[in-house]
Symmetry: C2
Subunit: 645 residues, 2 copies
């Protein structure tokens, strides 16, 4: 009789099985339906093939398409399928690496003398579909380093041999599906037959191992789905995402620009962009003031000693701009606002009556990103953060953390963000004193408080083990745009280490010194990332309160120029951002261009309007709303603005 | 019979005199009263002794106490008087340099073994008064370098000998009054007897030639006046200025701080300071929006190529922070916002219909200042400027320049700035193509337009020759605080060079490319300088709209805590910045501290107030204003705020 092992499930259930049972068989023991969806399994925290035997007691999480790790397994297997198809179509080609990515996978190949372009995609997709339909498994084989090298020497693939050199003997595995064998750590899906929809997306050059001095390989990107309908939805989303690309909209709507003399990753905000920033800042400042925040303002540089104190130097140096030597001291551009805020906290003595102290600043930070990593407003070298640090007592923490979450929820509602996910990253007790600050009590207490608040507020969250920051648990907030694309906002962090490093303290009721707990938060992320998100989310049709120009005044001819200017000044008094299209063009053309510029409201004026002191109102993407006098228009406009907030 | 020379006066009059006549004799020929006030004279642009003979045709400006140069002559002579007194009291001491400064003069002396402190001031002042009363003249003597060196070798003053080494033979002069002879370029006043009031102010150490490796000398500061009453007024002003010192007030009122880990000259704005900044920015943005400005936002760094284009490198390099090397390119912290704004102008094609384009930004700039030059908020390394650049056509220039001046006048009124002076700096036609861009027509036209506007607006201004910027005329604005101290705000500049350098253009009505004229302006200066000024100007008693905390709620005891918090939230709804003093202190103490913090309005609450839903109002420096209900208080407050704006 086989030994028994205990399997613990995420819901807390524990069941006994025979040792050597696979995750797939466990799934089948629960339900055939579940088993059909299993792609891989997390066994004792490590993602495995679902077919691999489990021989000891273990925690088990069955992974499906709904899990990030399940998707990654699926796409990783799809990369192998692509390689198999390529090898059949172009015998003798050589392979680099083929990992899953956020959306799909790629494989880097050395195609030798074969000509190649996206015109060949159809042929390859066809072959992949054919291979997938065979429904073969991905078989795992442990292999010695020498045998592995011998295999690829025989095959003549020097890239795989180079990869093998770096691997430790005894830890090398091959995976084989059909006629294709690859050096691979795995895991893979149970069968190729789950891959029901296949699309190759693009082809690009990529240097072997990212080294521009080495061979440029061909990188082929693709995506696959377990259902054809999902592929269709994805392709529609992709098409929509192209139209909503913030770089394209940013140019068309004159939001931001880059300039060679300024430098890559350093956006210049044009008047329309600055108007969005002003509207966002006004809104953030107002909500923060209501929530009891006070504002501060700090320089963009500080001495080396500041960052040695904070611990950012030398560990974080690669992400910082290089130092400037002034009066024999190194100064760095700040890559975060925290140390400056800590200094402001420390500038005057604090008592418990001063807490919670919530210091807010729209602070501009500088981080060095590789030029190849820069991407529109999403990856930049200069960004302005909706930053604040909350200094509080242990007793205040729960309420403060809860209020920060309220703010997130409020913002999500304001911006129509229906889908979000909070990843609650916790410490690992086994790593206290190494990866995590050695305060077991505080960790437990804080994590319990965080969890309690998340549950109480009913927010959508997942818990992640062993991913906390050094100084405390953190929450990564992911939001999804209207077309379902994922964006990572800034994190929300609990910090019980920096107060010590910066010797921050307050006097408690017993007249003793205590360290405050610090909360880092930035619910509106950075202007760069958030406006990039908003452009996609709203497809450029910003709600009225955020629109750089809210009203376009379109005179029928030059004769109504003066009336137009009077009207513009009238609107200004009511804080309505307007413009006059004073060109000698037909009103039809003016309307078309105002529509293209996505200006929410158009006011057409001519003889009638001037005579009656009125305006003809037209709404972007809706059309004519009739004529009204100036006062009525203000009411109409304000109501519209409120409705669409 | 003597030769005749022609003397031209500033009013355009020309008179003939005998060659060799002195400025003083010319003054006498006009009026004995005038002659009594003459301290020195500007002859052909050079400041001279009034006693020096004029031998050629010349332009002449007689200088009195009312002229900056007249004051400088007076104080320079006073420094010699101080030296004479010191030599009589401490025979054998040695002398460094003794120049006039903005307010008074100093002399650096090596006192040898003599003990010295400010306790000796009275004795020295007495001696100076005694010497002044003799009414001796300052006699000028041209002397050869060797004779001059022999004189100081004989006297045993190695400092003067060192100074002499650097001078060119044939251009060396001595000045003698009474028993004291000094190496000196002059000029000096006609007689010591004009020096009627003398006060030594302070004593400090100063390294010989500013070199910390050399001898530390004793620097004695003093000031003198031609009338005793002026001295009295000055000393009162000085006393008042000490109380109003922005560094002292900045600390007491928790406005700003400096931190060693951040660095010298890099202010951190505490919540109270940031609140002032927010109020100023709101006001500036509102006025600028009304005046048709649009806002932009730019990074704090740019590539070397940007500053080579602007011409700031290499000429201005010493005032810039050192470069950071990123991806093999040099990046600099911006020391001005102009180039970034030019890039924003250039980012999209412009037509005449887009002009005037007024780009505004509160932009933070970085300039390197020697650490010894740093002074509170007045000389800093990081400052945020009320910046804007106006791009306009030649035809639009006059109106735009006029509107900028209107803005200055509006701001002066808002901040109760009664006294100001605009220095209109013009080009010198002889230096076109060298010191000044070679556009004679444009210079003439622009300067005429500037003058016309200044006259039309009736502003207080003086014209200064040969002090324009390279690229156009400029206006330096000096304002005076409530106690009469002078502050230099940023300059207001006309620029017809940068458009060329940055290849900025617009399409005119004939569809041709033209260069815009650029106006640089910053009427509210930098936050640092302007808030420093305001603290002195208002002696820290900021008007309500600028006060960081506008209302202090002072509960009679802990029992009214809840009522206090309710009231605070009510005020918040009306955008009133309040605080609750929730300490267990007597209300008397709370009032005293609110007065010290200069909070404009205090609301005292106790049993009666809670029962009647009312507040007892107290005004800073005025006292009790009686009881009122919440709604009435809002009206009262808003009226008060408006009255005191």
């Amino acid at each position: 009789m086989a030994d028994k092992i205990k399997i613990s499930f995420p819901d807390g259930n524990v069941r006994e099985y025979d040792a050597g049972i696979s995750s797939m068989d466990i799934a089948k023991s629960i339900s055939e339906g579940l088993a059909r969806n299993v792609l891989s399994a997390e066994v004792n925290g490590v993602v495995w093939d679902a077919s691999r035997p489990i021989t000891t007691d273990a925690t088990l999480r069955l992974l499906t398409w709904n899990d990030k790790e399940g998707k990654a397994t699926f796409w990783h297997s799809s990369a192998h399928l692509l390689a198999e198809a390529l090898e059949e179509l172009y015998p003798g080609i050589k392979f680099g690496i083929g990992p899953p990515i956020d959306n799909g996978f790629y494989y880097d190949v050395d195609l030798g003398d074969n000509e190649f372009s996206s015109e060949h995609f159809e042929k390859i997709e066809k072959k992949m579909n054919e291979l997938a339909k065979r429904g073969v498994s991905f078989d795992r084989q442990e292999i010695s380093k020498s045998d592995a090298i011998a295999y690829f020497e025989d095959k003549g693939d020097e890239y795989k041999i180079e990869l093998l050199q770096d691997l430790e003997d005894g830890k090398i595995t091959f995976y084989t599906q059909g006629n294709f064998t690859d050096l691979c750590r795995g895991p893979h899906i149970p069968s190729t037959s789950s891959i029901k929809a296949i699309k190759l997306l693009s082809v690009a050059g990529a240097y072997w191992r990212g080294d521009e001095k080495r061979k440029q390989m061909t990188r082929i990107y693709g995506i696959t789905f377990p259902k054809k309908t999902e592929m269709e939805e994805y392709l529609v989303m992709l098409e929509e995402a192209k139209k909503r690309d913030h770089r394209k909209l940013g140019k068309e709507l004159e939001i931001f620009t880059f300039d060679d003399d300024v430098g890559p990753g350093l956006p210049l905000w044009l008047p329309n962009g600055a108007a969005i920033i002003e509207a966002l800042e006004d809104y953030a400042k107002k909500t923060e003031e209501e929530a009891g925040y006070v504002r501060v303002k700090s320089p963009h540089i500080a001495k080396e000693s500041m960052y040695l104190k904070s611990g950012h130097l030398p560990y974080y140096e690669d992400s910082m701009f290089p130092p400037m030597l002034i009066d024999n001291e190194k100064y760095y551009l700040k890559s975060m606002n925290c140390p400056h805020h800590h200094k402001i906290f420390a500038a005057t003595p604090k008592s418990y009556r001063d807490l919670p102290l919530r210091l807010a600043e729209y602070g501009t930070c500088y981080r060095y990103e590789q030029s190849g990593e820069l991407f529109g407003l999403m990856r930049v070298r200069c960004f302005t953060m909706n930053d604040a640090h909350i200094y509080c007592t242990e007793e205040q923490f729960e309420e403060e953390f809860s209020k920060v979450n309220d703010l997130y929820m409020k913002y999500f509602e304001t911006f129509g963000i229906d889908k979000y996910l909070m990843r609650f990253s916790k410490h690992d007790p086994a790593k206290l004193g190494q990866k995590y600050i050695n305060e077991p009590e505080l960790w437990k207490k804080t994590e319990d408080m965080v969890r309690k608040v998340l549950i109480k507020l009913g927010v959508n969250y997942v818990e992640v083990e062993d991913e906390a920051a050094f100084y405390g648990p953190k929450i990564d907030i992911q939001i999804y745009s209207a077309i379902g694309r994922e964006f990572t906002l800034a994190t929300n962090q609990v910090d019980f280490a920096q107060a010590e490093r910066f010797d921050l303290s307050y006097t408690n009721e017993k007249n003793e010194k205590e360290r405050p707990i610090i909360l880092h938060r930035a619910p509106l992320s950075t202007h760069e990332r958030f406006i990039g998100f908003l452009l996609e989310h709203y497809a450029g049709h910003l709600p009225i309160w955020l629109s750089p120009k809210q009203v376009a005044i379109l005179p029928l001819s030059d004769k109504y120029q003066e009336y137009a200017e009077k009207l513009l000044n009238y609107l200004k008094k009511y804080d309505i951002r307007g413009l006059v299209d004073n060109r000698s063009e037909s009103v039809g053309k003016k309307i078309r261009e105002a529509e293209l510029k996505k200006i929410p409201v158009m006011l057409i004026i001519g003889e009638n309007e001037e005579k009656n002191n009125s305006v003809s109102v037209r709404i972007h993407r809706e059309g004519d709303k009739g004529s009204m006098n100036w006062e009525s228009f203000i009411d109409f406009f304000n109501k519209l603005k409120e409705e669409r907030k």
